[in-house]
């Protein structure tokens, strides 16, 4: 009986020693795994940052104008060859996906980090060119007609309350001024809202040239007008990573108007 107890005691003691030896090893393995995972995530972030920088270098090397949407600083910047031409404060960003009869179709492609090209205004900015036929040289045509005084940019290019910049591959940026319809009456606002809903519904139903993804960017009304009037044709776009919509906006002091 005594021998049996002694054997049991020896077994327990061996087990305890074994556990004491194994436990620290097992415990140290879990943080190591976590560390490896953290490292991998860090590498992935670094990879993404590097890819983004590479794309920006490519854009800066090209001859096209491009927009850089930075959610981290809430800014939309018009650039050419690495130079900042105009910077707009972004007041909000939303992503929109089409849906038909409540069935959504989510585009799996990422919006960020991709170079979107050939962006054009919709509705387009129209320039009515004045064509002048010169008179025959040396012939007296009477009093020369006084050339008309051209209108101001505000008169020449009326800005719609909402407009799009449509890019190839199905991305559309909807520019919407904050409190777009605040100056109009209730019925006019309601009508505008329903009209926008109707246009969205029709756009979602159109299978051929539907916007696969929409980015809705809210700007100050003056910025939205300025962007419409001066956006060059065939503009490119890159959406940077980092930050969320509604992050601290760029300081107004640094924003040129």
């Amino acid at each position: 009986m005594r021998g049996h107890r002694a054997r049991l005691g020896t077994c327990l003691a061996t087990g305890a020693i074994g556990m004491a030896l194994v436990m620290p090893v097992a415990c140290s393995k879990a943080p190591a795994k976590q560390r490896a995972m953290d490292r991998r995530t860090e590498v992935a972030q670094l990879q993404r940052t590097t890819d983004l920088l590479q794309r920006q270098v490519e854009l800066a090397a090209g001859k096209d104008f491009y927009l850089v949407l930075d959610p981290a600083t809430s800014s939309l910047t018009l650039m050419l060859r690495g130079a900042r031409l105009q910077r707009y404060v972004v007041l909000g960003i939303q992503v929109g996906h089409p849906r038909i009869a409540w069935f959504g179709e989510r585009d799996p492609r990422p919006v960020q980090g991709v170079m979107w090209s050939r962006g054009e205004l919709d509705p387009p900015r129209q320039l009515d060119r004045l064509v002048i036929q010169a008179g025959e040289p040396g012939k007296d045509t009477g009093d020369p007609a006084t050339p008309p005084i051209p209108p101001t940019p505000e008169e020449m290019y009326p800005v719609p309350s909402r407009y799009h910049v449509r890019f190839d591959d199905g991305l559309s940026v909807e520019i919407r001024p904050r409190e777009a319809d605040a100056t109009t009456g209730r019925w006019a606002r309601l009508r505008a809202s329903w009209s926008a809903r109707w246009r969205d519904a029709v756009a979602a139903i159109r299978a051929g040239d539907r916007d696969a993804v929409r980015l809705r960017i809210v700007l100050n009304p003056k910025d939205a007008e300025s962007l419409y009037r001066s956006l060059p044709p065939a503009v490119k776009l890159i959406v940077l990573t980092g930050g969320e919509a509604g992050a601290a906006p760029a300081s107004p002091d640094t924003v040129a108007r």
């Binding site: 992935a44 409540w102 960020q112």
Partner: protein
Amino acid sequence: MEPSPSSPPSSGKAPVAAIPEPGAPPAPRPARPSAATPRRLGPIPLDRRTAGLAAACVVLMASVVFGGTGYRYEAFVDIPAAPSDRVPSDDRGLQQLTARLRTREREFAARLKAAAPRGVYIVIDQTQNRLYLKRDDETLLQAICSAGSGMVLKESGGKKREWVFDSPRGRFEIRSMSRNPVWRKPDWAFVEESEPIPRNPAERLDYGSLGEYAMYFGDGFMIHGTLYERLLGRAVSHGCIRVGREDLRKVWANARLGTQIYIY
């Protein structure tokens, strides 16, 4: 009195039309079915109430479909970077990859910085007729200017040439600078005035119309002054950038040969 078997039943049913006898007045037309006996579509009676209900159902369904058709917007959220399968799993491989990526990151950041203009540069918004003098992110001057009108001039005689008065878009640099510049009028300036194009080059020279300074940036385009300051802010030029006297002085004071000009 018992109704005879040939008399019409009194249940409201239409009488059976009899063959009229010759000379007899025409028999009255059979009465239409009254509202009390509606037409039926199978088991469903086709009365006003059913039609109203059907219309309401259609409207409801259409609004449900319309309400769920369009674009569904949600807040923009930054998607975190997901580790790629190509990332090595061992510690040493990870360290090497990290070091390589850091080097590339530094390299790209340096290239991006090198692409940006150094020192003072000029930005021109030709649609809104604005000129900005900038240094890095700082705007030193915002001036009203006049860019190309976009007008088309067609020559009547001669070579039937055509000119479009647009300001160019893109990046340029100041190639030459001139104080009290003299304008050597191109052909279109004479065609526009319906004047013969002179053979003597001296007859092309025009003094004073370009203001105090001119900064030439290629293809005959310049930033210069104007005699018509009241038209600043409107697109009236033949492609050059016209600036008011005071603003032109500031631009001149800051500009150098090689100063970058960005026109959009």
